[in-house]
């Protein structure tokens, strides 16, 4: 097999035949997807459809069993020389991850640090940013997510919505070129969902490339450039939100939308 041509960074994310197994359970069964820079892609589908797993494969929190993923033209997790893939060492892997922001369903803020410390920790530790500079940037980011006055609060003193907004600020502090959101509002009380979605909407308007796993169909319709419906480890249907969510072509998409709306 001849060496494939180097990937031009026309796509921020490109996935090709991605397979992922947990033991004998095949969670991803051949995913092909591409996300352009500044695009907002909404991943929807029933639980267990593999959408969160796919998201975690993009920053190599899960190792894929077959296929390849590129982020900004760089292969995820490996260096390709000819037709051989060399697994990246820990430091190379960490550097790639530092360029991809991730927001988790359960926030995962560091509970022993204040909001401000949560935001400055990675820039200082990973990027060697000077403290004063990191603090200044962190205050701007907390301001941007509407939590300037909560800088000195510990996560346990914040509501779920506030914690998730700090988590977004923490991810943005690394100046990522891509943001991954793994069901960012699923663990929130209904009245707190809006404040997190507002921050994400603003981020999308500012031109951030985003992949969002979500069950918020209204939000997906309004903010998404494209909606991808996954089921059983494969992409069933994709297209503009208005099409996929209003006039789905596939029976499975129709069934899913009928159940949740």
């Amino acid at each position: 097999m001849s060496a494939p041509a180097p990937q031009p960074a026309r796509f921020m994310v490109r996935a090709e035949g991605v397979h992922k197994r947990f033991g004998r359970l095949e969670v991803l069964r051949g995913i092909d997807l591409a996300v352009r820079p500044r695009e907002v892609m909404m991943l929807i589908g029933p639980s267990g459809s593999g959408k969160s797993t796919f998201l975690r494969c993009i920053n190599h929190l899960e190792k894929i069993n077959a296929g390849r993923i590129w982020v900004d033209g760089e292969l995820v997790g490996y260096r390709q020389v000819g037709s051989t893939l060399y697994e990246l060492n820990e430091h190379e892997q960490a550097r790639r991850r530092s360029e991809i922001g991730m927001v988790f369903q359960r926030f995962n803020l560091f509970p022993h640090m204040t909001a401000l410390q949560n935001v400055i920790e990675a820039p200082m530790l990973v990027k060697r940013t000077a403290r004063a500079q990191a603090v200044e940037r962190a205050r701007q980011l907390l301001e941007r997510v509407g939590l300037a006055e909560k800088a000195d609060a510990y996560p346990s003193q914040l509501s779920g919505g506030q914690q998730q907004r700090v988590a977004i600020a923490r991810a943005l502090a690394m100046d990522p070129k891509l943001m991954l959101f793994d069901e960012p509002t699923s663990a929130l009380d209904p009245e707190l969902v809006g404040e997190v979605l507002a921050v994400m909407r603003q981020l999308a308007n500012d031109g951030m490339t985003m992949i969002v796993v979500t069950h918020e169909m209204q939000f997906a319709r309004e903010v998404g450039d494209r909606v991808v419906f996954m089921d059983g480890g494969v992409v069933v249907e994709e297209g503009p939100p208005a099409e996929v969510l209003t006039n789905p072509k596939q029976e499975r998409t129709r069934g899913f939308l009928a159940r949740i709306l």
Binding site: N59, L61, E90, H91, A94, R95, R97, S98, E99, I100, G101, M102, F104, R106, N108, L109, F110, P111, H112, M113, T114, E121, A122, L125, V126, K127, Y154, P155, S156, Q157, A167, R170, A171, M174
Partner: protein, 303 residues
Amino acid sequence: MGVEVERGATFTVVPVRRYGQAVLAVVVALLVAWLAAAGASSHFVNPRVVSQYLNNPLILGGLANTIFVSIAAMIIGIVLGVIFAVMKMSSNVVLAAVSGFYIWFFRGTPVLVQLIFWFNGVPAVFHELALGVPFTHVVFFSMPMVAFMTPLAASLLGLGLNEGAYMAEIVRGGILAVDEGQVEAAQALGMVSSQTMRRIVLPQAMRVIIPPIGNEFISMLKTSSLASVVTYGELLRRASDIYSSNLFVVELLVVASIWYLALTTVASIGQYYVEKRFARGTSRAERETPWSNLVRNIVRLGR
């Protein structure tokens, strides 16, 4: 007693009468008084001898040795504990098995046996302590085992290695108690595993590890008295050295006990403050001191 429950309405509250408790209290108080009287009237404890030996230089030296050997053995134990905990959690089978064997062996045998083993057993079996290249005749340094295995060395080895086995399980429990999402969040931000361990996992594990370390230290202050059997001059050894010549056996045991109580009391107080320091960020722990509770309750009463 009148208590204002609702605006304008005053009720009299009568607590439940607990007659059984009152009877029990009287019985226990009588028993304690009887014991105290028996102790005070006995001819076996001479309070003047007790107070005379309380600040005896030999006793104070023994006290210092007890503190020293306890702290040193704890440090050895904590260092070994962290190492063996990480080894046991390693994906490397050999490391995990060696750690498992160490923990099984040292927790499964009495520390008194281990102390005697180091002090008497090891010098009897190995006559020389040598540092060289294994399986060759190259030796950089050697000394007679008897010269190396002083009472202090045997005490530190016995107490420290034993403590390490217990600490390994405590540290492992602490690391396991940290949510997996914390590691993922750190990784997603670009931290490598050593940074994640040092900045994210261990500080959170500390909150779980610190209270048992305090208990282990308090326990070590007392367990260190076993070092007396390998003739290490700690508190109990010094007390027994003195009473074997002057025969004030009970008085000197009382002296030693008073010092042990003082040590454990001070350590308990220290533990309270250390635990408070490491409770940072957990619910409202840092703001709910007894004092703030009191203030809040007063404010609430005023309404």
